[in-house]
């Protein structure tokens, strides 16, 4: 059985992935180097204009803005998620699975619904405004919905369960005697956390950060719903090139950049994790 050629088994799936993932993605890659046609079509002449346009101040600004929002969201999600994962890993062993289950449960519900829940909370007739009035606050509350903060909150909310999962994995695998050894050698709880626990669980932190950053920077649903279209992120820009502006080559170039950022970060993360966890062997 182990020796049978497994190609027959893999053929349908691999054919499917080739036809509907590999080829379309190569197509996008190619598209990024073609010229935009006069009426929104595509002119098949090679050009680097689309990639150059990405660095045009107008678009570079959007890039930086998206990166800032995605970076902030990723940072907050990692801090909160790591704290939560740490608390779960510190709970009695028999309670950990159930805590983890409930931490991840929201992740399983629809993304749009989770984002919508924040519209319900934040909108002008929403619960938070109502709560403020009920508490006797009659002045004008600052605008909550359709702000950058709302977008950041929405992104953190949506991706937090993933970060908790990613950080919990290395934390739960940590030999508790290692932290005890650090204390036994004279380190305070804080020093132990900083010099032993965090470096040893860095792979989880890095995975969480990269995941949130990449999904946030390419997101167009949350900025559209919680940002109210007030500002654009790369995801919205891509969306616009394909569905409204009809500049497919530029949209393709943008998504190539998106993929490049993701791959770059993933490579960096693998490298950094190996260094931090000491898994890399210098010689043997």
């Amino acid at each position: 059985m182990k020796d049978r050629r497994p190609l027959y088994l893999m053929a349908p799936a691999l054919a499917w992935l080739t036809a509907f993932m590999v080829i379309p993605c190569l197509l996008i890659l190619a598209l990024a180097f073609f010229r935009r046609g006069l009426y929104g079509g595509i002119e098949y002449t090679f050009t680097l204009e689309n990639l150059a346009l990405v660095f045009d101040p107008l678009y570079a600004g959007i890039f930086l803005k998206s990166a800032a929002i995605a970076g902030l969201s990723a940072l907050i999600a990692v801090i909160v998620g790591y704290a939560a994962a740490f608390a779960i890993a510190a709970a009695p062993a028999r309670r950990q699975p159930i805590l983890l289950f409930f931490a991840v449960l929201p992740f399983w519900s629809n993304y749009l619904v989770r984002t919508y829940a924040w519209i319900v909370l934040l909108n002008r007739e929403g619960l938070i405004t109502g709560l403020a009035q009920w508490l006797g606050f009659d002045g004008e509350l600052p605008k909550l919905l359709y702000t950058e903060s709302a977008v950041v909150v929405g992104l953190v909310y949506n991706y937090l369960p993933f970060v908790i999962l990613a950080c919990y994995a290395p934390l739960s695998r940590l030999n508790p005697e290692i932290a005890e050894a650090s204390q036994d050698l004279g380190a305070s709880a804080w020093t132990t956390f900083r010099r032993v626990t965090v470096p040893l669980t860095f792979p989880g932190i890095a995975t969480g950060f990269v995941f949130v950053f990449v999904l946030s920077i390419g997101n167009f649903v949350t900025p559209a719903l919680l940002g109210g279209g007030q500002f654009q992120m790369i995801g919205n820009l891509v969306y616009a090139q394909f569905l409204t502006a009809n500049d497919w080559p530029f949209g393709a170039a943008l998504s190539m950049i998106l993929i490049a950022i993701m791959m770059g970060l993933l490579t960096l993360q693998t490298f950094a994790s190996e260094r931090a966890s000491g898994a890399k062997r210098e010689d043997s």
């Binding site: 059985m1 049978r4 497994p6 190609l7 088994l9 893999m10 349908p12 799936a13 691999l14 499917w16 992935l17 509907f20 993932m21 590999v22 379309p24 993605c25 197509l27 598209l31 704290a83 939560a84 740490f86 608390a87 510190a90 289950f101 409930f102 931490a103 449960l105 929201p106 399983w108 519900s109 629809n110 993304y111 749009l112 989770r114 919508y116 829940a117 519209i119 319900v120 909370l121 007739e125 929403g126 109502g130 009035q133 909310y157 937090l160 369960p161 908790i164 999962l165 709880a189 990449v214 390419g218 997101n219 649903v221 559209a224 969306y239 394909f242 569905l243 949209g251 998106l258 993929i259």
Partner: protein, 263 residues
């Protein structure tokens, strides 16, 4: 003692994080049962908004479309994904390229796959509709089914396959009578996961469904509705969608303890 101070801090962290995670969706669920429908005043328990929902023809047709997409794409994805998983696991040589191809659908940002498929279909002059959504959903669904089934195959005792051969069974018979039945819980878990992902998927469907009301799926309908603000009807719809995915995935997890990707 430091110990109790620490565990108190841990409790505070857990309470805060769980409140952050659950208050928004709980408010949503509660409001869907609010008779008056206003977010600021509770006027009594009622299921009337659910009734409204079932009388809304747009929502009903979108729900039907979603069901078609999810069921058909799950069937294909389960079949292909399971075969792929078995194929990869019995293959002796582990290829990095192969692993990347199988892993890619799970990590490519949705928007990239969505525009890639949109360009692909329109360049081939394919008329887009529910069928193109189904074709596209199979791509990531089969990858997820494959990863769930592979996780289970890692602990599969291959000697029972040899035992079956030793007792005279041919390879197809061994497959049907031994491998598939043993793997069934993982396969069903994978299928449930695929079904849920498909029901919830918005971005790829949005780009590959083409124009026209006929091929709108439920998430697309929800997206269109929530752009215009909060209504009690959406609250009810959101509650149902949430309940369906949570139940399906809890079931999937139960069938396949610890086998979901990322765990």
């Amino acid at each position: 003692m430091a110990r109790t101070a620490n565990s108190r801090l841990m409790l505070v962290i857990l309470a805060a994080v769980f409140a952050f995670l659950y208050v928004p969706i709980s408010v949503l669920v509660a409001l869907s049962f609010n008779d008056g429908g206003l977010p600021t005043a509770w006027t009594g328990f009622s299921v009337k908004w659910y009734g409204e929902l079932f009388r809304n023809a747009d929502v009903m047709s979108a729900a039907f479309n979603t069901l078609v997409v999810a069921v058909v794409s799950t069937i294909f994805a389960t079949l292909f994904g399971t075969l792929l998983a078995i194929g990869v696991e019995i293959r002796r040589r582990k290829g990095r390229f192969l692993e990347t191809i199988i892993f890619a659908p799970m990590i490519i940002p949705d928007i990239v796959l969505a525009i890639a498929l949109l360009s692909f279909f329109s360049m081939l002059n394919v008329t887009m509709g529910l069928h193109t959504v189904i074709l596209s959903h199979v791509v990531f669904n089969l990858a997820f089914v494959c990863s769930v089934v592979r996780a289970r195959l890692k602990t599969f005792d291959w000697s029972i396959v040899e035992a079956s051969a030793d007792l005279g069974a041919s390879t197809p018979i061994t497959m049907i009578r031994i491998v598939i039945p043993v793997m069934m819980p993982a396969i069903i878990a994978g299928a449930l996961l695929a079904f849920t992902l498909s029901v919830d998927e918005f971005i790829i469907a949005f780009f590959t469904a083409g124009a026209g009301r006929a091929s709108i799926t439920l998430p697309m309908q929800i997206f269109a509705m929530i752009r215009f603000g909060v209504t009690p009807e959406i609250n009810a719809l959101a509650t149902i969608v949430m309940a369906v995915s949570v139940i399906a995935l809890a079931l999937s997890q139960r069938l396949n303890r610890g086998g979901l990707p990322g765990q």
